[in-house]
Symmetry: C2
């Protein structure tokens, strides 16, 4: 660390809050009656809209590792994982609240960088942080965010809305975030095993696109907004945070339907294939199906809506169809063989507990 290190105990909780709030100012929004600084924040809800709220936590050691995540990216990502949930409801983000449990190793400057990352997200996606609670902890760092958005009630797509015959669509490409994480973990391991830590240089350069996707994901409001502009009737939608398999299973279970997706249709960046094969000698398919954290959108539309997606052809791919429940949930391989999809994605409790 080259920057200065001010222990939070030097300025206390109220001193810290004052410095962090300074970073967030000024924010002008005539609908905010009271922002940070009272027992609660107060805002006027937009007329004719419904309120859409979600909450997600990022825990050190589970969701992030301070050896390779900058505080700025962490602040950004803590917002994005929640923004992405609103995005999948076709909602517009408006307000966020955050709690941070801060271990002693975290300085005032590091907290300021966290808030600079938050501020970038506020500016980029046009919402305000209106509430927060900072507290110390003897354990690991824990960040919890609640995001509030507004939406038109009648266009919100739920997980339960998929209909037999729907086309299954996905934005962007899948697997990059997980490929980036694999590289980060490998270089961290090399660093820890290196005898000359001072001069250790991680090999990130060829993989930056994947690493960036993992460290600084972008919610797909660009697509969500176009779907609204084009008046596409989206029957069901979810953001891909757990992994394609898990998230498709969420839709199928809640919609009481089956599905098939085609390996040849899955949008995969060449870098994912390259990292899987050349760096880890692995099949890339699990990266795509179970990697998670891509924060792309998975959604279904009926056949009649498909044409409306034409202007989005470079960003949205059709990867399969919704079937009758009895037909199961399966992947059609390149060789036409069929594999039942299972929730191979991110289950902290199972993966992490068993891995200890």
């Amino acid at each position: 660390m080259n920057e200065s290190f001010t222990d939070i105990s030097q300025i206390g909780e109220f001193g810290l809050i004052a410095r962090l709030n300074e970073i967030l100012q000024p924010y002008r929004d005539s609908l905010i009656v009271k922002g940070i600084g009272d027992d609660a924040a107060v805002y006027i809800p937009a007329e004719g809209k419904v309120q859409v709220v979600t909450t997600d936590a990022l825990i050190e050691g589970i969701h992030f590792d301070l050896t390779y995540v900058s505080m700025r990216n962490l602040g950004w990502k803590s917002m994005v994982v929640n923004l992405s949930d609103l995005c999948a409801m076709l909602a517009t983000p408006r307000y966020a609240l955050i709690t941070v449990a801060i271990p002693r190793k975290i300085s005032v400057e590091m907290m300021e960088n966290l808030y600079l990352g938050i501020k970038s997200a506020c500016n980029e996606f046009n919402f305000a942080l209106i509430g927060g609670d900072t507290t110390t902890t003897f354990g690991n760092m824990a960040i919890s965010v609640t995001m509030i958005g507004e939406a038109d009630k009648d266009i919100i797509p739920y997980r339960s809305g998929a209909k037999i015959g729907d086309y299954i669509c996905v934005t962007g490409t899948l697997g990059l975030s997980y490929a980036g994480l694999k590289i980060l973990l490998r270089e961290k391991k090399k660093f820890l095993e290196s005898e000359d830590k001072q001069n250790f240089k991680p090999n990130f350069e060829p993989f930056l696109k994947a690493i960036e996707k993992h460290l600084k994901p972008v919610p797909r409001f660009d697509i969500a907004n176009k779907l609204k502009d084009l008046k596409v009737k989206v029957n069901s939608m979810i953001d891909i945070s757990d992994g394609l398999s898990s998230d498709l299973l969420h839709i199928c279970r809640q919609s009481n339907v089956g599905a098939e997706i085609y390996e040849t249709s899955l949008p995969v960046d060449e870098l994912v294939k390259k990292i899987a094969k050349d760096e880890f000698n692995e099949d890339y398919l699990p990266y795509v199906l179970n990697g998670g954290e891509d924060y792309e959108l998975l959604f279904t539309v009926s056949e009649s809506e498909l044409k409306k997606l034409d202007p989005l052809y470079s960003d949205v791919k059709v990867i399969g169809r919704i079937l009758d429940r009895e037909q199961g949930i399966r992947l059609i391989r390149e060789d036409k063989s069929e594999v039942d999809l299972e929730a191979g994605g991110w289950d902290h409790f199972k993966i992490k507990f068993e891995g200890r």
Copy 2:
């Protein structure tokens, strides 16, 4: 622990969520369009009201200690610390969201008890839990709650609204929660030092009122509702979570005023005096001024409103006056001597870090 212990890894994150959600059902509210189970929850805001939102975290080792807090009380208290903030805005609670970072020592049954405590609060104060995120952690348990309420914009009292000449009022009595905490900590220490832990019996019986106030506080919606019914114009209000001194300082700073409070007027339960004197040989005054966590209401009203408080005489005491800023913020002792009030309350960063 006498109850059964099911490791969360046996049922996984989705299994856990299913069991916890079962506890919360059924909840009927025609304004909730979508509750738990999608990317985000959706609700219709009440017409003509503003939205009031707050967030607060409870961290194991800082805010609670699982050696003496039951999961049920913890669930209750995680809601109450947030409810109390809404109460101090004269808002009506409507919806809550929670994230929990769960260490391995916590079983499925313990999480169910946590949710039973949450459910009690939902039933008692008429709000619904509409969002959540559970994740594992390698560190300590961390609970973060966001509470959403609704209020009439024009009656919300802010910290900044105190006016010179206002009477300073407080509900209930002060210091009990801290006195209860002192007993809990003493008995825990005795237990840890005891050579026969199997047969150790903590001495709680004479102090139950204080212990209960600490473990299962009650937000003062009873008073808040009466203030609304009686149409009392409340100029400023805050809930006493940090301690009377700290919270009065918040009001004075944000209102740009001074204040004096009178020792003889402070509402103190006899048990607080008894615990301070007989059990710890201490002055009870710091318990009252700096103890914190009483979750009583501190508010100010102008002289003309004072008469309206008459029906509340058993629950609300006048403890001082708002003064010009130049006159400082001070306590008038019984012997008429004056003491400047300082923020002696709960600052996690200063107290805890220095105490390590």
